[in-house]
């Protein structure tokens, strides 16, 4: 029983991968993403704690790039290259965690609102609409002021604020799936809510959820940097957004310290782009409607 299922799953995964690999943008995205993940994992091996400790900084303030500091130094004399590499870790974690949190809430609300009609759906929809029209940035700032400072707060603020879009998406997909005759068949077979949700709706919503998460990571990383720019979170946490904030508050712009201002920003753009490309490629592979088109 299990072996043909697994063989089939493997075959399906292989098919997805082949179609994915045919999309050059997606492939580039995966490679870039892989490099970032590798950086994040290897960073502790390449970088010693002491090279991140301002009390042990060896460079001068805002030194321009040189042999010792390929990307110059920050306002504390630390290597920008080291900081940027190290920042990959938390930036990636914050982006992923916030996106997962947001999509998790969104998926739960979306499926519940889509599957159950009546007042539950009405209440959930109103709730979703309400969150959708809220000025998310203001809400996120207020939330992070209420909670303890730090990456956890930022994750929570982004996650709590950004779920409604995925809720609507998942709800639409749930409604589409529920309109299919096979749901009617499952119900006619005697399947209850749990059966329909977990055997039929969730599996067919999952690819969408997966794609959505991938795309949401990009948004979350940008949101993280925005919150950092507005002064939330602690600068003792090294993230790209935090580095950019430090750069702009320490006068790097006027100093012309492009080596400080550009690398973290470019890293953000590359990572967000990579996630977006992967997400779009996955979308074309996993969403049959789009697949026909291209």
């Amino acid at each position: 029983m299990t072996s043909p299922v697994w063989a089939r799953r493997r075959a399906a995964a292989g098919r997805v991968w082949r179609e994915f690999a045919a999309n050059r943008g997606g492939l580039v995205g995966v490679v870039v993403l892989g490099l970032f993940v590798l950086t994040a994992i290897l960073a502790p091996l390449l970088i010693s704690e002491s090279s991140l400790d301002v009390t042990r900084a060896t460079g001068q303030r805002l030194e321009s790039p040189s042999g010792d500091f390929p990307l110059g130094t920050d306002e504390n004399g630390l290597s920008v290259l080291t900081l940027t590499l190290w920042g990959t870790r938390l930036s990636l974690v914050v982006g992923l965690a916030a996106a997962v949190l947001s999509v998790l809430i969104g998926t739960t609300v979306g499926i519940l609102a889509g599957h159950f009609g009546g007042w539950l759906s009405a209440v959930l929809l109103r709730f979703t609409d309400f969150f959708l029209i809220m000025p998310s940035l203001v809400l996120a700032i207020a939330l992070s002021a209420v909670l303890e400072g730090g990456a956890g707060t930022i994750i929570l603020a982004i996650g709590v604020v950004s779920w409604p879009t995925s809720a609507r998406l998942v709800r639409a997909q749930t409604l589409a799936v529920e309109a299919r005759p096979y749901i009617e068949r499952a119900r006619a077979l005697g399947g209850g809510h749990g059966h329909v949700i977990f055997k039929h709706v969730l599996p067919s919503v999952l690819p969408l959820v997966f794609v959505n998460t991938t795309l949401a990571v990009g948004t979350a990383i940008v949101a993280e940097s925005t919150l950092r720019f507005l002064g939330l979170g602690s600068t003792s946490e090294i993230t790209w957004g935090g580095l950019l904030r430090s750069a702009s508050s320490s006068g790097a712009i006027t100093y012309g310290a492009w080596w400080y201002l550009l690398p973290p920003g470019i890293a953000i753009v590359l990572l967000v782009l990579a996630f977006t490309l992967v997400g779009r490629a996955l979308e074309t592979v996993l969403n049959p409607k789009l697949r026909e088109r291209r």
Partner: protein, 538 residues
């Protein structure tokens, strides 16, 4: 005189190497009508689209397509644009999507007139009104948007549009598919009239031989990209030579023909089961004054089912016929407990249907649903095994799951069962999929099958096989069935009794022979009258 359309060794090949049309020669003279028949995928649509070079970019066309003697294949784009619609126009399949949803009907009809300047600009409005009148639509409809029209009206608009530039050739691609029997009859009548009045050459494409036969003088039957039979309509329909033509012809039985009574066309070696007389006594299923109302968006009420009393005996096949919107699907859903009745009740073996909980689940084991479109009735992610085991797991049926699944597959004649188990639905043909749906129902050993248009979306040749299976299951398992259909031929093929539904009410119920041969209600008579008829061979 040059023929309106002449195809010489036409071939259409798609990028993947699939040869859709393989060397077709056809000639159509002005005022002639030709029917092109074939099952889905036989290449008939590719052929139609190739005439005006409307095929997708990845299609390669070879041979000659002479439209009024000029080869459209070699025309410049400008010349081709001038020829399009002015010389030949198309009535597309599915008028729903072939009309631009956000532009008014009048504009869409006027567009080619203005473009090809076939009428002076100041007379365009009058011309549009004239065209609408020709298709029996009031001129106000020019202001309507497509979604405000019914399916038949949209098809009329498509016809009006096709006639807009007074072309010499009209290609009609499945113009009546998805339409009801009665509406289909109206549209066909209209088309026949207009073509003869204006002396237009018509190429009509359909999978339904009788539809083509009722309109066209000549018929061509296409099979795998080639024309396998060509002749006058009566000859082809009543005396088919090619095996494929024979299958097509048999798929649509003539109501009243004793040869097809309880005998759907099948090539299955198991053959047809012996006739079974349903048991008398307490009916298996009975509805008492069943009413189902829905609330409209506007706030009013739609009475989908009104005071319906229907019985299905043990081992009996009852056909519920009616056109779309007559409430027959709602009735079926209510019978299965998928829809709560507004008033009245459903009795199964004399006991009212439970409203929920375990009892309803247990009932659902006994009464099973077979849906119209097998490709969407199966979760595309679930293998055949999972699809059939789904019901077994829900009801925690005792016994070895694998053995039960195998037995169900055998019963639905999917043999060998082992081969089908790991397969995904999209790897199966339409008929096989419908068998999987039936197997999934059979696995629970039900007493009643409710089949909603079980063969409507299947190819003609498969249709008979599925109907034969239903008959065999009745004979072997004593399964009762409520078959919902718009197709009177189907009822003639397999049903014991027929119930005619019109606007939520049962207007006539009785034995098949009685109702279909001696209809008492006017509606039943109009249904029968709407069946396309092909003249007998001369």
């Amino acid at each position: 005189m040059t023929p309106v359309l002449e195809l010489r060794d036409l071939r259409v090949t798609y990028a993947g190497g699939h040869e859709a049309v393989r060397g077709v020669d056809l000639t159509l003279r002005s005022g002639q009508t030709l029917g092109l028949a074939g099952e889905s995928g036989c290449g008939k649509s590719s052929l139609a689209m190739s005439v005006l070079r409307l095929l997708p970019k990845d299609a390669t066309v070879s041979g000659e397509i002479l439209l009024d003697g000029a080869d459209t294949r070699t025309m410049s784009w400008g010349r081709l644009r001038a020829v399009r619609w002015a010389s030949a126009s198309i009535v597309f399949q599915g008028a729903m999507h072939a009309l631009n949803p956000v532009r008014r009907i009048g504009q869409q009809i006027a567009e080619p007139i203005l473009l090809h300047a076939t009428s002076p600009p100041d007379e365009v409005d009058a011309r549009v009104a004239e065209l609408l009148a020709q298709v029996e639509l009031p001129p106000e409809k020019a202001q309507a948007y497509p979604h405000e029209l019914s399916g038949g009206q949209k098809q009329r608009v498509m016809i009006a549009m096709a006639l807009a530039c007074r072309p010499r050739l009209v290609i009609a691609d499945e113009p009546t598919t998805a339409l009801d029997v009665i509406v289909q009859a109206q549209v066909l009548r209209l088309l026949t009239r207009l073509v003869s009045e204006h002396g237009i050459g018509l190429v009509m494409i359909s999978h339904d031989l009788s539809v083509l036969g009722s309109v066209c003088e000549r018929l061509a039957v296409m099979y795998e990209g080639e024309i396998v039979e060509l002749g006058t309509a009566p000859t082809v329909v009543h005396d088919p030579q090619h095996a494929h033509t024979q299958a097509l012809a048999a798929a649509f039985p003539t109501v009243g023909d004793p040869a097809s009574r309880y005998a759907p066309a099948t090539t299955n070696p198991a053959g047809l089961p012996p006739r079974v007389v349903p048991e008398a006594g307490e009916p298996l299923l009975r509805t008492e004054s069943l009413r189902v109302d829905f609330r409209d968006r506007g706030g009013g009420w739609t009475h989908a089912v009104r005071d319906v009393n229907l019985e299905v005996g043990r081992g009996e096949i009852v056909a519920l016929v009616g056109q779309s919107g007559s409430g027959k699907t709602t009735l079926a859903r209510t019978v299965l407990g998928l829809q709560q009745p507004t008033s009245g009740q459903v009795l199964f073996e004399g006991r009212p249907l439970p409203r929920g909980g375990r009892a309803l689940r247990d009932y659902r084991r006994q009464a099973q649903l077979v849906l119209q479109d097998p490709s969407s009735a199966l979760n595309p992610r679930h293998s055949v095994y999972e699809a059939i085991a789904e019901g077994l797991r829900i009801h925690r049926m005792p016994g070895d799951e694998r053995a039960l699944v195998a037995a169900a597959l055998e019963a639905a004649e999917l043999r060998p069962a082992q081969r089908f188990m790991p397969v995904l639905p999209h790897q199966l043909s339409g008929g096989q999929r419908q068998r999987v749906v039936i197997a999934g129902a059979l696995a629970l050993r039900p007493r009643l099958l409710v089949a909603d248009e079980p063969v409507a979306s299947l190819d003609a040749s498969v249709r008979g096989e599925i109907l034969a299976l239903l008959l065999r299951l009745r004979a072997e398992l004593g399964l009762a069935a409520l078959v919902i259909t718009h197709d009177l031929g189907l009822a003639w093929n397999i049903a014991d009794r027929v119930a005619v539904m019109y606007r939520g009410e049962l207007v006539e119920v009785g034995d098949v022979e009685q109702v279909l041969l001696e209809p008492r209600h006017e509606y039943t008579r109009s249904l029968l009258a709407a069946l396309p008829e092909v003249a007998a061979p001369a």
